[in-house]
Amino acid sequence: MIAHAETVPSGRNPLVKFILRWLLTTNHKEIGTLYLSLSFLLFFIGGAMALTFRAELAQPGLQLMGADFYNQMVTLHGLVMVFGAVMPAFVGLANWMIPLQIGASDMALPRLNNFSFWIMPFAFGLLLSSLFMPGGAPNFGWTFYAPLSTTYGPPSTDFMILGIHMMGISSILGAINIIVTIFNLRAPGMTLMKMPMFVWTWLITAFLLIMAMPVLAGVVTMMLTDRHFGTSFFEASGGGDPLIFQHVFWFFGHPEVYIMILPGFGIASEIIPVFARKRIFGYTSMVWATGSIAILSFVVWGHHMFATGMPLATELWFMYATMVIAIPTGVKVFNWVATMWGGSMTFETPMLFALGFVVMFTIGGLSGLMLAIAPVDFQYHDTFFVVAHIHYVLYPGAIFATMAAVYYWIPKWTGNMYDERLGKIHFWTAVIALNLTFFPMHFVGLAGMPRRIADYALPFTGLNTFATAGAFLLGLTQLLFLYIVIKTVRGGPKATDQVWEGAKGLEWTVPSPAPLHTFEVPPKVD
């Protein structure tokens, strides 16, 4: 493809060289590393925010912060985790692994790839700078419902809007790059139905991104014009409609939750067969199930809005459509179990994380089914039950999948094996801590505690204290993860090219660590 290794002139100061190398790189592996590093940093920033408000929630009353700062932390935690931790992590994995898995020498559009990444730090710089502005950071939740975010939002809201625009541009460009790469650069012989599941799920995710992100861009633009240019899209007193905001937001928002989980499905589908030493069960139906989930994700957004006063017929449609999603999702879970069935399993850390993913994502999926039942949703809606649900699908879902992927592929990235014992300790402490954190939230929500409140009535005290303790333990376990990753990057037992005994696929045919340039001559797939 394009020659780009020698973009940095030689003979300069090593620091300048270092900066220029990473700033100007167009190599998919280096950009993948950049994405993963940024995501890791933002994961800790978002986590620290979560611990900040969890500390406030440890006891009723206001101890550590005002309610307004609490709301800022809740808002930024959501935005940073969704757009800063989960999405860039998956894009980073895609950058590293898709060319390796399809036998391409790089992404199809390397310069665009560089551009997509380097937008991100600036986008998050804008977003996080709002913390230091007069009036404070955005304080209306990551869903930024109008008119709280328009007429009543703090001045820093505009920085959030521009930050989201930039993240959106980055995501759309990244998605275009992934689609073009997959469609054009597959090794000879690799037909679509021979692609690894991770590539398939990312292909579908990339289409979701292209369809959903412009809608988000639209809604934040409408916010911006409402705030500054005298329009009244969402302002009832100007003839506008605050509900339109929610419709448009969730038309983006629901596909967004699948953007955050489909690559995780792909990762589980890569890892489980390798450690079960058995081919994935029902590959074709796995592909179709992923596709159906993606299509259905565009027609279920109203289930976030059952309490907004929708007409009966609309409520029924959204209830039924949402319940239907359980079917393809069920197929995926059953197929993973069937893949394991009759296998010859070993339980290295990636497998543990993948299995943890399947079990706890299923718990989140089942509570999602409960939430889909519209009449009962009137009791669940906007309580901690929903908080428990989303964290079960996102933490052991998206984040465990990412961790599984890191443990699985890090020997290929670094050439070193990670510390298996520490990896297992990380897994088990994380599983325990996250269940201690999020399981009680089901109970406290059912008992009637609304979400996003800085202070709560006395009967909710015990469970909240418990969840806060769990959250701090969970934060600590991720420091262990950071330590394991750094340790592996710095050294460790040398990995073989195949790394895992049961591993098949093109990425395992290149040396470990993967050299900067691979597959300059396309491999042949039969």
Binding site: G135, T362, A454, D455, L458
Partner: protein, 393 residues
């Protein structure tokens, strides 16, 4: 003796032993599970049964879907843990090679579909009933604003605001918290038993959501919209809820308290409200027909300030950043009186400073302005009369 019999005896003995060991562990599991579920119920960690037919029905639906999830979870995780146990490499060194079965896949597509249809039927029935707002006996307009509820009985023509009554000292942990911490208000909403009460929800500013868990009524209150919900409560009592849509800084401090009275008591309560409304009108006339001294106004002003203004502007008037400006040394408080009065009467557009004109009496507004101008670090020496406020409206 032949060894065969001995072998059989040993086998049976082992089986019995295994049975006891296993049943003991099943027993242990059963005890553990029942302990857990008793804890969950005893602690009130399940959905509240509530007091209406609908809330109890929805709880049943909740239990149905919960059990469906538990059973599905048990089957899936059971299979998974079995295979983890039985098909690990040390037990099953040679993996199977099959990887496809259309028959099995059809089965596990159809079974979930049937389960879902089974869940959808009662859910649809319940939803149709929830959305039937016709034939109400009584209609109450519930309007949210930051951060209080405004209740208006449309037929009777009465209405009032309902503010949280938990003192700031309890929130700031300088005083012991009361039993109904954060779930107590100054004016309770009152409804009769056994009548179909329809709630119309709307908002003056941002989106709020009116939720009383014991009635299973949760309806968003949107500016520019009027939504409907209804309840019919058989049991007299006091029921509590709170706002469930993030509505700004004091979202946690927007509780709902509903008193349900037997029908005859409700009628006499309504009559009392009408009389009170009239006497409030008379009191307002009396208030503005005489001059008030600073000594009279200051304590009224302090009360009004603490219960309405202090959550944002702080009890000592120090404010919170640029969003909630300080009263101490404020240009409005120390500037022209007309501007101060209009700020309080009409609010400030596009901010969280709401219009207090409809919520407070002439006397209260006169008193709070007097208080702000002569306390909280300000010393203008001015006394504002209720008549001035009346004329400014």
């Amino acid at each position: 003796m032949n060894s065969q019999i001995i072998n059989e005896v040993i086998t049976v003995q082992l089986a019995i032993k295994r049975f006891f060991v296993r049943s003991r562990s099943y027993g242990a599991w059963a005890i553990l599970i029942s302990l857990l579920s008793t804890t969950v119920l005893a602690q009130g960690w399940d959905m509240r049964p509530g007091v209406t037919e609908m809330s109890q029905h929805l709880r049943t639906l909740h239990h149905i879907s919960l059990w469906v999830c538990i059973v599905v979870g048990a089957v899936v995780f059971g299979a998974m843990f079995y295979t983890i146990f039985a098909h690990r490499r040390s037990k099953n060194p040679i993996p199977a090679t099959w990887h496809h079965s259309t028959k099995v896949e059809i089965v596990w597509t159809i079974i979930p579909t049937l389960i879902l249809v089974g869940m959808a039927i009662p859910a649809t029935k319940a939803l149709i009933e929830i959305e039937d707002n016709s034939d109400a006996d009584l209609t109450i307009l519930v309007t949210g604003s930051q951060w209080k509820w405004h209740y208006q009985y449309l037929e009777a023509g009465i209405g009032f605001y309902s503010n949280m009554s938990t003192p700031l000292e309890q929130i700031n942990n300088t005083e012991a918290k009361g039993e109904h911490y954060l779930l107590e208000v100054d004016n309770h909403l009152v409804i009769p038993t056994n009548q179909k009460v329809r709630f119309l929800t709307s908002s003056d500013d941002v989106i709020h959501s009116w939720w009383v868990p014991d009635f299973a009524v949760k309806q968003d209150a949107l500016p520019g919209f009027i939504n409907e919900a209804w309840t019919r409560v058989p049991e007299p009592g006091t029921y509590r809820g709170q706002c469930t849509e993030l509505c700004g800084m004091n979202h946690a401090y927007m509780p709902i308290v509903v008193d349900v009275l037997p029908e005859d008591e409700f009628e006499s309560w309504l009559e009392d409200q009408r009389i009170a409304l009239e006497s409030m009108g008379e009191a307002a006339i009396a208030a503005r027909s005489r001059d008030w001294s600073m000594e009279e106004l200051m304590p009224i002003g302090e009360d009004t300030y603490l219960s309405n203004c202090a959550t944002c502007h702080q009890p000592d008037g120090s404010g919170q950043g640029i969003t909630y400006p300080a009263m101490t040394g404020s240009a409005v408080v120390n500037g022209p009186i007309e501007n101060h009065i209009s700020t309080i009467l009409n609010g400030v557009a596009g901010t969280e400073m709401q219009a207090w004109g409809p919520q407070l009496s002439d006397l209260e507004i006169a008193a709070v302005i007097t208080y702000e101008r002569n306390s909280l670090g300000n010393e203008t020496g001015e006394v504002i009369q209720p008549l001035t406020i009346f004329n400014s409206r």
